[in-house]
Subunit: 465 residues, 2 copies
């Protein structure tokens, strides 16, 4: 009675919500409806993702590749998977880059009106300044192209200040991030190519506060490596205002960040073996490493604990998967993606067959959809499952998605990839800044992500692709 | 070019996202597509809702009916509407109840192991205790029915402790609130009916912290009015554990809250006059009053500023509505709904024609859908508009919705009503507690609510219902 009532209610809701195509074989299967309700009930009441995240953030903390925190996180994740009784738990060795921030960075406007200290973080991977720091005039630009247009005459000997703002108009803030992040990633070498001695950028953030946001840069071969830092948005606005008054002001920059030799680290892999197709793998993963300035709660502690949480949920519901369900906690997504590359390389060597790979690295916010890189038939099949999801969780399947860690699996072997899409409004207020802490994560939002991933994996396991 | 590209992109997105029925008259109108993009661009870049909310929360603060804060909020809202140059700004006089919390409440377990002070708030509308407080044994129950089953023998002379938990399983947390709130609203009189001398409840909240959540109660005629208070969830758990050890422990309760004579207050009404149908009104509203324990940021400062924000957005885009668009900031939703009742009464007396009334009172979280009480044909028409909305804003039109302030318009005159549905995961962590403050509201989430409301109203104004 409860069963049929729940089914009737779900169908009623589904009719109102999704006019998505149901497959030719008819209405959603009542058994699947029941299982998916059990999945969401479980995560919302007894889910462990939030407690795991509490431990990862508050007991371990920052986990930049090569750091002690990253090493402790690997140990912890392996232990959690062992304690959970996963059928197989392995570590995949991977050599990772090791960059350290060093002491607190300094950026100060030296103007007519005295000194104005700005909030600043070295961009990840930057070289430091001389111990005495660096002082130079500042050229403000809006783009890498503008640096080329200004040329060596205007850029040489200067600090280039990339000040193009985050476009607030995109509802998907990831698009705005993508539209501004070239300043951070490619800006330093572009400036160096024209003789600049340093780079500062406006933080790539939707926020209007003054917390600087770090992230990685990519130095080009054959171009001098110059120091590069990110200013808080308010600091960037102060700098641009100061430059308007006094274009020949100088900026003082001091950063002691540095590169150390590569360090041995690991991807952490745990799985539940498939009963019918043990050699066919459904992968769900996030990345265990984080930036060094906070707890990496949303990025990507959330995805790490959700990936373990998927397997824990299937265990709790006593579900025996037909395919092997594998949780992978990748190392070094933030500044190298060595873990993802190594994983794909090993998958090839071991002739592993992945039927799909799913990444959760959009922050632990409420789920809104899945983005999918797969043949049209797979997309159609996944769309036919939309009625299984409550309208306040997954409401779309969009084309083209995955994640940095699973991209090599697609590129090398054509494995279909999926990204969990969460609500993105708050993400780039927090991302790569000191604000990415446990208290910025909502328990229910996080657990609904675990539930959505578990439900999708259940549907794939049951129905194939 | 940009226009057609934007249109093509929107259509592409829409096809993937919504298989919602497009009307017979064909694909979405390119002009409407352009206008709706302009609406969202405007609110995300230049929207004023967030700044208005900052003022309302941080300069005015709590606004319980009858309080000085409520009076100042009325003045402020009227001034804002005047300054905005709305075509008509009026105050609708309404007499509202005036209840005051008084000094800080005290609830203390008097057990064998000494005293344990609990976090507590008087339930809004409760009578106080004697100045010396109230001490009695405690009977823990799960429901109003259980009180009746236990009867006068077990209940008489005791404090009834309603401890039924918020059901974490509902993805729509509003359903869980609805499933537990009878303890707060009807619990006190039910207990008094069987001779209880006081009531405490577990706060109706999704949170596991110890912030108590207030809200209103409803005393029944002919039953003694007894003091009633809400405990923080952790405090409720401590009380239940203490009772398990010592069922005859006593609870000490001291509250100095009290009723004062009704106070003259106002609904604040501002409108843009319609060009073609000035006598046909599209209403958008929220409530200006709030509980007294915080800033009423989500409940319902958000809806108040969004309602003004809709008209401001139409003005900014130089849109001249065909129908009259009216923003109504209702008074006294929280403990009486006198403002909503008065509004409907006056609408009848003045023979006003409302073609639809929309309420925003679900917190300033990211929008997810609209719930609609209207004929099926209206629902179908509104569903046909889903492709106009980005998949990360409005993704459904569900049946049955509105709001407490506009319900009388529907009940008395059959006016169709709509509620903006926002993501509900965090709402009941915050609702009616000290946590409902400006810093708990995200700028983009709030402004997307304003944008969604403006877009819907634009579509109704342009296309009719």
């Amino acid at each position: 009675m409860i069963r049929s009532l729940a089914y009737a209610l779900l169908m009623l809701g589904a009719m109102f919500v999704h006019a998505a195509p149901i497959q030719d074989d008819g209405a959603p299967d009542p058994g699947d409806v029941k299982m998916i309700k059990a999945i969401f009930d479980h995560v919302l009441v007894q889910g462990e993702s939030y407690q795991m995240l509490d431990h990862l953030c508050n007991k371990i903390g920052p986990r930049l590749s090569g750091s002690e925190g990253a090493a402790r996180a690997v140990e912890w994740a392996q232990q959690v998977m062992h304690d959970a009784g996963f059928d197989r738990v392995t570590l995949q060795e991977v050599m990772v880059p090791h960059w350290e921030r060093g002491g607190k960075e300094v950026a100060t406007i030296l103007g007519d009106g005295g000194e104005d200290p700005l909030t600043v973080l070295a961009i990840g991977g930057s070289v430091g300044t001389d111990p005495d720091g660096l002082t130079a005039e500042v050229v403000e630009v809006q783009s890498l192209d503008e640096v080329a247009e200004l040329g060596e005459d205007r850029i040489g000997g200067k600090i280039v200040f990339y000040n193009r703002a985050f476009d607030q108009r995109n509802i998907n803030t990831g698009a705005s991030y993508g539209g501004a992040v070239d300043q951070r990633v490619g800006g330093p070498s572009q400036a160096a190519k024209y003789g600049a001695v340093g780079v500062v950028i406006r933080s790539v953030s939707s926020s209007f506060d003054d917390a600087p946001h770090t992230g990685t840069l990519r130095y080009k071969e054959g171009v001098p490596r110059i120091p590069a830092a990110a200013l808080g948005v308010q600091s960037a606005l102060r700098l641009t205002a100061a430059l308007e008054k006094n274009p020949s002001l100088k900026l003082y920059l001091n950063m002691s960040c540095r590169w150390l030799p590569d360090v041995k680290s690991y991807n952490v892999v745990g799985e539940l073996s498939g009963s019918d197709h043990p050699d066919e793998i459904i992968l769900v993963g996030g990345h265990l490493d984080s930036w060094d300035v906070a707890q990496g709660a949303h990025d990507d502690g959330a995805g790490s604990v959700q990936s373990i949480g998927v397997l824990r949920t299937l265990q709790a519901l006593n579900y025996k998967p037909k395919h092997t369900i594998r949780a992978v906690l990748f190392m070094n997504e933030e500044n190298g993606t060595r873990g993802g590359q190594k994983y794909a390389k090993l998958a090839g060597e071991n002739k592993e067959k992945h039927i799909i790979a799913i990444e959760t690295d959009s922050g632990g916010f409420v789920p809104r959809g899945f983005s999918v890189t797969a043949p049209e038939s797979t997309l159609a099949k996944m769309r036919s499952w939309l009625p299984y999801f409550d309208k306040n969780t997954i409401s779309y399947i969009s084309k083209g998605g995955g994640g940095a860690d699973i991209r090599p699996l697609n590129a090398m072997y054509g494995v279909p990839t999926v990204g969990l899409r969460t609500d993105s409004q708050r993400y780039f207020d927090i991302h790569h800044s000191r604000r990415d802490v446990f208290s910025a994560v909502d328990r229910r939002e996080l657990e609904l992500g675990t539930g959505s991933l578990t439900a999708l994996i259940y549907l794939i396991d049951r129905n194939g692709l």
